[in-house]
Every structure is written in structure tokens, then in C-alpha cells.
């Protein structure tokens, strides 16, 4: 789950981090008032779950309250990478001397958190990573000890020469690690971390992603979810425990297991069709999950056919079959269903389907070919 900049900054502030001030505005009038409070000039930043906000025109400098209102009205409602901006963050303009980068995420290879820092922060950090990788310093953190003080100092010393700046940056790095671990994040990033002309080090941007698997035990973090920023199908899928991604095609897909679900989408394309979605009903499914999955898929008017590809392991085919039958009864499905069921309790499943007048094929290629044909 991604947090907005202002939400991440709030978590940073709670950890005592030096973060620039700022408040959220939902309309131009609020933006004007905030700019006035910040002394007339302000930076207006789109709050949207997407990178490249600046390059998309979602970050603007205003030199008067009127300009702040004008920029806010331009940015609010703007679409960035398909996401509509509903709020802007209004912050005072800082006197920036340098821009650095500090990020921490879980490293797959090292199986531990890894810090990445660079004195060359700012909007082009990915280009720096690609063209001048030596400019980015990495440090793996032993989870048993966490980020030790000398390590935080060592990271900060990669960013600044001045001992005063290094000390401030070391504190911020330490606080970032605490926020990262303390909120079950998978990624936390400050870009840029600035030093001001006056000699202060400040986080003026913040990005954080929370590990979805952490949310069950962190209600305060879970409450930060911006339900308005996602489609209702996504909300519905999440509450049913389904992994769902909407796509542009017309072949609805309901599969167990992410790998098989992706392979099914690949096969739909292979046979000349277009998948309408990625949907993994997960392991250990109960019939209710299948009903929820069908409700979500059928709510997409583009869907011309629904294909089930179930290879039972921990998922029992009979559970899925019961869910299909129940869903057909309960919500009435108007598009054709094509079903493939193999594996655990397959015979039981076939009997359940047969009683309801449904049949299942045995292979993935058969069911996908059938679905693609019916979608034409």
C-alpha cells in the first residue's frame, strides 16, 4: 500500500525528523490561504500515488497567494499516469543549497534492509543510478542490530563534508530506519534530502510503501489508505482477499496462484485474445471468495467470457466448483463460463458442476482457446 507524501511526512515527523512544514489543500481557496500563511510564496505538489509528479507538471512554484490558487486549480483534477489528483500539498519554499537522496528498502539478495544514499539526489536519481552507479552508495543492514550509529554516520558522510550537516543527516537516516521498520514498510525514501543555504538538513519530499502483509496488525497505518484513489473493484477485491489487477481486454480470468494467473494471461494473448484482468483467488479458497471474484469480474462491462483455470493443490477444486455454482445462482451470470479444474478433489468438483449443468475441460490450452473464441 502506497502512502501519499503528506502521510509519509506525518510519520516522519512523529519520529522527530526534520521535515519541511506543509499542509494539504483540497481546493484553490485553501491553497491560497496556506500560501499566505507561509509568507506569500509556496510550492504546490500533487498528492498522487505515482512517481514523476514534477515531470508531469504536478509540482509548481507560486510566488503569490493568487498564483498558489491558480496552480492548485490547475493541478487538482489533473491526471498523472492515469491517477486523478484529489489533493495538493502546500509547502513554503526553501533556500536549497544541495539535494541528496536517501532510501531504504528490503533487498531480495541480501534478505535484509538495504540503504541507498547519493549526494546527487533530485529528479534524475534513476538516471544517476543507470549512468553513474558509483555515485550511489549502498549499505546492507543486519536486522539483528538495526542501523547502528556509526553506520548512520557513515551513510551521512557520503552526502556532506561539513560535520554539522553530517550529524543532522545521520539523525535523519536513523529516524528513517525507525519509521521504515516501525510501520512495516517495504520502501521509504527521501528525495530530495536538502541542505539549506542556512545550514539545515531537511526532508522536503517523502515516499513510503507499506507491506500489505503488515496491515492486519497495524490498524493506524491501514487507516491511511486512500480508498478514493483506487477503483471500487480494487477495494472489493482487497476486502475479499483476492489479488486483482484490471486490464483492458475482454477475457475475464479467475485463476489460483499468481504464477499460473500470469501464465494464463500470457496464453490468452498467445491465442490472440486480451485478458480483462489478473485475478488470483489465492490458496485455501472458500466458496465465498469465488463468488466475490465473479462479482468483481462481471462488474466490468467489457467482459465477454469468464475463464476459470484452477489447478488444485491447497485450493480444493470442489470449493471452487461450489463457489461457481453458488455465484451463478446468486448473481446470475450472463456471459459464458469456461472452466478448467484439475488437481485436489477434482472428481468431487466435476460432480458438483455436472449437477448444475456445467462442464469443465482438462487442460489450460483448451480452456483458453475456448475463451478467446467466445470473446470474439
Amino acid at each position: 500500500m502506497n502512502l501519499h507524501e503528506y502521510q509519509a511526512k506525518e510519520l516522519f515527523r512523529e519520529a522527530g525528523m526534520a521535515v519541511n512544514p506543509g499542509e494539504v489543500a483540497g481546493n484553490p481557496e485553501q491553497a491560497r490561504a496556506l500560501a499566505e500563511r507561509f509568507g506569500g510564496s509556496a510550492v504546490i505538489k500533487a498528492q498522487v500515488h505515482s512517481g514523476g509528479r514534477g515531470k508531469a507538471g504536478g509540482v509548481k512554484l507560486a510566488h503569490s497567494p493568487e498564483e498558489a490558487a491558480r496552480h492548485a486549480s490547475g493541478i487538482l483534477g489533473m491526471e498523472i499516469n492515469g491517477l486523478v489528483v484529489g489533493e495538493v500539498l502546500v509547502c513554503p519554499i526553501e533556500d536549497i543549497a544541495t539535494e541528496a537522496y536517501v532510501g531504504v528498502l528490503v533487498d531480495r539478495d541480501g534478505q535484509c534492509p538495504v540503504f541507498m544514499v547519493s549526494a546527487e539526489g533530485g529528479v534524475d536519481i534513476e538516471e544517476v543510478a543507470a549512468t553513474n552507479p558509483e555515485a550511489i552508495h549502498r549499505m546492507r543492514i543486519d536486522p539483528r542490530y538495526g542501523l547502528l550509529p556509526h553506520q548512520a554516520y557513515g551513510l551521512a558522510a557520503r552526502l556532506y563534508d561539513d560535520p554539522g550537516l553530517v550529524r543532522q543527516a545521520a539523525r535523519i537516516t536513523q529516524q528513517l530506519y525507525e519509521v521504515f521498520v516501525g510501520n512495516g514498510a517495504s520502501m521509504a525514501e527521501i528525495n530530495p534530502l536538502i541542505s539549506t543555504v542556512q545550514g539545515r538538513v531537511l526532508a522536503i519530499d517523502a515516499k513510503m510503501s507499506i507491506d500489505d502483509n503488515e496491515l492486519f496488525r497495524r490498524p493506524a497505518v491501514a487507516a491511511l489508505r486512500d480508498a478514493g484513489s483506487e477503483a471500487s473493484a480494487d477495494t472489493q477485491a482487497r476486502s475479499a482477499g483476492l489479488s486483482f489487477v484490471k486490464l483492458d481486454g475482454n477475457v475475464g480470468c479467475c485463476v489460483n496462484g499468481a504464477g499460473l494467473a500470469m501464465a494464463t494471461m500470457d496464453l490468452v494473448k498467445y491465442y490472440g485474445g486480451e485478458p480483462a484482468n489478473f485475478l488470483d483467488i489465492g490458496g485455501s479458497s472458500n466458496p465465498d471468495k469465488v463468488v466475490a471474484a465473479l462479482e468483481i469480474i462481471t462488474s466490468d462491462p467489457e467482459v465477454k467470457v469468464i475463464l476459470f483455470n484452477i489447478f488444485g493443490g491447497i485450493t480444493r477444486c470442489d470449493d471452487v466448483a461450489r463457489g461457481i455454482v453458488e455465484a451463478v445462482d446468486r448473481i446470475g451470470i450472463e456471459v459464458p463460463l469456461v472452466i478448467r479444474l484439475t488437481g485436489t478433489n477434482e472428481e468431487l468438483a466435476r460432480n458438483i458442476l455436472a449437477e448444475a449443468g456445467l462442464t469443465a475441460v482438462a487442460t489450460m490450452d483448451e480452456v483458453v482457446e475456448q475463451a478467446v473464441r467466445l470473446a470474439r
Binding site: H49, S50, G51, N81, G82, L83, Y101, G103, L105, R108, Q111, C112, V114, M116, I125, E126, A129, A130, I136, D142, P143, R144, G184, S186, M187, E189, N191, M208, S209, D211, N213, E214, R217, V245, L247, V255, G257, A258, G259, L260, M262, A263, D266, L267, V268, Y270, G282, G283, S284, F311, G312, G313, I314, T315, T342, G343, T344, T363, M364, D365
Partner: protein
Amino acid sequence: MSIFVDGTNRVVVQGITGRDGSFHTRQMMAYGTRVVAGVTPGKGGRGFEGPDGTVVPVYDTVADAVAETAADASVVYVPPAFAASAIMEAADAGVAFIVCVTEGIPVLDMVRAHALARDRGSRVLGPNCPGIICPGKTTMGIIPGRMVTPGPVGLISRSGTLTYEAVYHLTRGGLGQTTCVGIGGDPLIGTSFVDCLAAFAEDPDTEAVVMIGEIGGTAEQEAAAWVSANLDVPVVGFIAGRTAPPGKRMGHAGAIISGSAGTAAEKTRAFEENGIRVARRPVEIAGLVAESLR
């Protein structure tokens, strides 16, 4: 032969009384796996009845189970909130091989669990994996036993159900398996492609290897490089997720650490550059293996 496990392992099931744990314990016992103990905190002293009426003793802790039954391998079917701690408990009790089926464990929990398992010298398979099956000998996890058959192919996969798909076609094509290993779909897993490849390289009965990868991370590239440097038997690959849309990414950290390496195109290229033939559809895997064995 088989890798990591053979028919002699003495298996303890963590979460044996749960819905999934009890169902799959019976399946494992029916296949011939020596399940010697179960663990469910608070249910110690009970018995768990296997498919043929055998009663497996249930203990409160893994340490008790190991002390009483000399269990040396474990399968974890514990809910996500407690699974990492179950893995650590098994490693602390000296269990050498731990299969964790559970999906949805917080990643930072697994950072700790993997670190502890490494310290104790335990091998973790998974989490979020279907387990391991040595056809005709033993199974640990949830891979349906009836779709495998003994033979010369070793199989390694990140995905559960896609593993079944591939094995199903191998078996139908008359290509049996030495061992099928599901290494798990999580970002942090205890046993990698390379660990499995190294084990297959030592197994004289494995004459070909199938590697099933998917988008994300760089494990397939590392495996491909290892194959070309170290492995003498032919390898056939498959990568799921060619058509997956790029996720809506936040922040730069992910891109800085792995660039575009996680895409299906990059992985397929790494496979092919290292002499691994890549199937376009799961159904083609068996055919490519048959050709490579000729």
C-alpha cells in the same frame, strides 16, 4: 535419487490441527511421508489420526516434538501472523529442513526468520511455496502426489500452481521426476534456484532440469549464469508474466536496485544467452525436455 529430502525424513507438522494442516497431513501420510509429530500450541497431548488410523502425537512446542520423536524436518501450515515465529521455533529446535507453505507473511518478519535459520544451519524452503515432492518416496507440502511419477527430470519453480501445470505435462509425456521443488513466490525465500541447481548437479539420476520463473527480482538471471558455468545436464525454462502490465511504481528505490532486470523479456534473454531453451507455453515444456534428453 532426490534432493534435500528422501524417504527417511522424520517430519513434524506445525499447525497440524488447522483446516489446511490437517487436510494436507493426511495427504502426505497417504503418500508415504513419515509424519512423526504435530505441533499446535495449547493442543499438546492430543492425537492426530492419519488416513490409515495411525495416530500422530501432537505437542505444544517443536522442541518437545523433536525431543520425543527425533523429527528432523518440518512443514509449516501456520497462519501468516505466526508463521515466521513458527519457522524460528523449528530452527531453534534443531530442525534441519523447514518447508513453509504459508502465504502472506510480513516481509520484515521473514528478514528475521531467515537470519535466524541461517545462524542455526537450517534450510528453509519458501515461504509461500507448495513444498517438495520426491515421486514415489515422500512429499512435504501441498503438491498433489498423483500427478508426479519417478523419472529423470528435476523441476524448480517459483510458482505453486504453475509447478503442477508443468509436472502434469511432464508426467503425461512419460517424463518422470527425481524431485520437484517449489521455492516460493515471496521476495525473500530460503532456498534459491541456485541452491536447487547445485543439489541437482550432485544427483546422478537427474538428467535434465526444468526451471520455472516469473517476473520480479533477478533470481532467474543468477540461475542462468550458474547453469552455464556449472551444470552439465540440459535445462528448459519458462517465464510467467510476459503480458503483465508494469506496476504503478512509487519511489525510485526499486528501480535503482534492479533497473529493468525484473521483466520477462530480460529473464528470457538471460535464459537463452546461457543455453537454456525457453518454452512459450507451459504445454511446450515437456516437449523441449524430451528433445533435450534425446
